[in-house]
């Protein structure tokens, strides 16, 4: 077309900058979206700090912290079973039939004890059900409770301290040593192997090296 150069432009001149702007902007947006998803959609963000309200205002800070009760006093199956059992009501009443026997805050516990109806605790550490976690082997390998549960002894209401994501599990399964403590220190939440200069390999009480499974069927079956 011979008069092509005298075509009246449809778009104002500034639109010439759009391509440049897009060229620079698009990658930025893309990267930030990826980063956002990667961070905000991960259990690190979604799950850590999950602190549901419990039916009974039981304070670990008081019992495990101040009074220094051993975790295994209540969670007695932790060394024998996959599941760290929540204590039966009778365990509570073991003390609280004498101590604070009349306290209104223990009303529910007493009722449960009489009626035989269990107390409906809210689960805090919820592993996906297709992941099989076994407490006994971890405790017996000298993994400190705090490594996964955080400083329970400082929590009034228990909350989730770690992401409990697969990646997080693998970190430790690939290099367990930093989280290992002497067997007798497992429930000592304040024990810091690094500070104590604890070297699992040198521990005479260990019968075997710790080599956690890293293959799928180690946890998924």
């Amino acid at each position: 077309m011979n008069e092509g150069d005298r075509v009246t432009p449809i778009f104002p001149k500034w639109t010439n900058h759009i391509p440049t702007a897009v060229a620079i902007g698009a990658p930025l947006v893309l990267v930030s979206v990826v980063l956002a998803v990667w961070y905000f959609f991960s259990p690190k963000w979604t799950d850590v700090g999950y602190t549901p309200k419990q039916p009974v205002a039981f304070s670990h800070q008081l019992h495990a912290g101040q009074m220094g009760m051993d975790c295994r006093y209540c969670h007695s199956t932790v060394e024998r079973a996959a599941f760290a059992a929540i204590p039966p009501t009778e365990t509570c009443m073991g003390c609280h039939s004498m101590v604070q026997a009349k306290s209104p805050r223990l009303q529910l516990v007493r009722e449960s004890y009489q009626s035989g109806k269990p107390i409906e605790w809210v689960k805090v550490h919820m592993l996906p059900e297709h992941a099989n976690f076994n407490h006994s082997i971890h405790v017996n390998s000298g993994v400190n409770c705090a490594s996964c549960h955080g400083r329970i002894d400082q929590m009034k209401v228990v909350g989730q301290a770690q992401p409990l994501s697969m990646g997080w599990c693998l970190e430790c399964h690939r290099n367990p040593s930093p989280n290992l403590v002497p067997k007798n220190q497992v429930t000592n939440l304040s024990y810091d192997p690094a500070k104590e200069g604890y070297v699992p390999e040198k521990d005479p009480h260990r019968l075997r090296g710790v080599n956690p499974p890293q293959h799928c069927s180690g946890c998924h079956y």
Partner: protein
């Protein structure tokens, strides 16, 4: 149609190449011919076709929705035959999607000027076919909602996809192919879109203008355009071969008798071009007739395509024969059995349909009368497409239904959902294609002009109006 004109450019002359554009078409008349379909008021026929196609698309949507709701069980698959129509359709459509890029890229590099009047439609067809193809790997998985695990995205599981899996290569191969073809197609469109921008007004002008990217046809534009087009052509050429090679790896690298064959990559590529050209012929014959493109899309184009079909068809036939030979020559009883059962077993009907459509019928193209007869061309091409669908079905299903252990032999029967999904995919294809012929030039105007005598700067005889003799 005026056969005298059509046949005119079939003979080769010693002194000059016979023209690719017939009649006394000029640059502007070509533009007008191609613009007509888009500038005329939408014809009833188009609406009817469009509605039919659209309802086909609806069927596809319904079938897929039902599939997602109920699970893959709504298909006829079983524990022995884990793939059937889903992957058959996938390979079928990818195959269709081959001719386009071959025509536009490879023929371009080989300076096959006759490509110019068909490449645009062929490329469009390619893109739409690949879209149809891409659906199936997506929906055939059991848990669609986690299908994104196929892509290497960092995640809290610290898991990557398995890069050893041909299925993963597929994901990359096909999506790359799709991206590049689309880009290639679009770049080719720019000058023509600009033409329409200049011819139309109002909202159309704006939209076309948007996609014309400010094309003014200046010398610099043409220079960059040509370079970009050449580069893209060079880029997509290997893709033409790679994509179907990798699709064939899905089967070739696994170890089932009937799948595990080294001949698959070339055999698949040949088959793809075979079916692709058949589809181009079908589409072009209709467009040519509907939009009176006889002078642009000439019998010579069809004859060339028919020759390619004859060639690739024979290659496919050779592959079939070779499979049998190897099965016998290898002395591998599983291999032998699977081929015997292909020809004589429960699926013999499918096998012989395939052989008839792909090997026997295309041989008719040896006869010039047949390959220059539009009806024959059309019908034979349809057969080729049917045959090529069955080829994939035979490869996938007959191999799976009779594997190593006779205890695990089963028979596959499609459910109506299988059928609906397949038909629906055609609905999607034609919906897109109808939109294309309505809103975009089905012939690359700018390129066609380059092959017209007027485009030749040193042409000694500028058509009939220039005086003879040199200056």
């Amino acid at each position: 149609m005026d056969t005298s004109v059509t046949l005119a450019n079939l003979e080769e002359h010693v002194d000059k190449r016979s023209p690719l554009v017939l009649g006394s078409e000029t640059f502007s008349s070509v533009t007008n011919i191609v613009s007509r379909p888009m500038e005329m008021t939408t014809p009833k026929a188009w609406w009817i076709c469009f509605l039919i196609a659209l309802s086909g698309l609806g069927v596809l949507g319904a079938a897929i929705g039902y599939l997602f709701w109920e699970g893959v069980g709504v298909w006829g698959l079983n524990n022995r035959v884990g793939w059937a129509w889903d992957i058959t359709n996938f390979v079928f459509w990818v195959g269709i999607g081959h001719a386009g890029t071959l025509i536009s890229a490879i023929l371009f590099l080989f300076r096959q000027k006759w490509r110019t009047s068909i490449n645009r439609a062929a490329e469009a067809m390619t893109i739409f076919a690949v879209i149809c193809a891409l659906i199936f790997p997506g929906i055939h998985v059991g848990r669609v909602w986690v299908a994104y695990w196929l892509f290497p995205i960092p995640n809290q599981m610290a898991m990557w996809p398995n890069f050893r899996s041909p299925l993963l290569w597929d994901v990359f191969a096909v999506s790359t192919y799709f991206t590049v073809s689309t880009l290639f197609w679009f770049v080719g469109l720019i000058p023509d879109i600009a033409t329409f921008r200049d011819r139309s007004k109002g909202i159309r002008k704006f939209v076309y203008g948007l996609f014309a990217l400010g094309w003014r046809g200046s010398h610099r534009h043409w220079l960059n355009y040509e370079r970009a087009y050449l580069i893209l052509a060079a880029l997509s050429t290997p893709l033409v071969l790679s994509v179907h090679t990798i699709v064939s790896f899905d089967f070739a690298t696994s170890q089932l008798p009937g799948w595990h064959a080294t001949i698959f990559p070339p055999y698949f590529v040949a088959g793809a071009i075979f079916s692709g050209f058949a589809m181009v012929i079908n589409l072009m014959i209709i467009c040519r007739w509907v939009f009176k493109l006889e002078h642009l899309v000439t019998m010579r184009h069809f004859e060339n395509m028919a020759k390619i079909i004859l060639l690739t068809g024979s290659m496919v036939g050779y592959a079939y024969a070779m499979e049998f030979f190897i099965a016998w020559y290898s002395g591998n009883p599983y291999e032998r059995y699977i081929f015997i059962s292909r020809a004589t077993g429960p699926y013999a009907w499918a096998y012989w349909t395939m052989v008839t459509c792909n090997v026997i019928i295309p041989q008719l193209f040896w006869v010039r009368k047949i390959r220059t007869n539009l009806w024959a061309l059309f019908i034979i091409s349809v057969f080729v497409n049917i045959g090529m669908w069955f080829e994939r079905f035979v490869i996938i299903v007959t191999s799976l239904h009779r594997t190593f252990l006779p205890s695990s032999w089963a028979y596959f029967k499609p459910t109506y959902v299988d059928i609906a999904t397949f038909i629906g995919s055609f609905g999607l294809f034609f919906t897109l294609f109808l939109l294309f012929i309505r809103f975009l030039p089905i012939v690359a105007i700018a390129e066609v002009k380059t092959v017209m005598p007027e485009a030749d700067p040193h042409g000694h005889d500028h058509g009939h109006h220039a005086k003879g003799g040199a200056h």
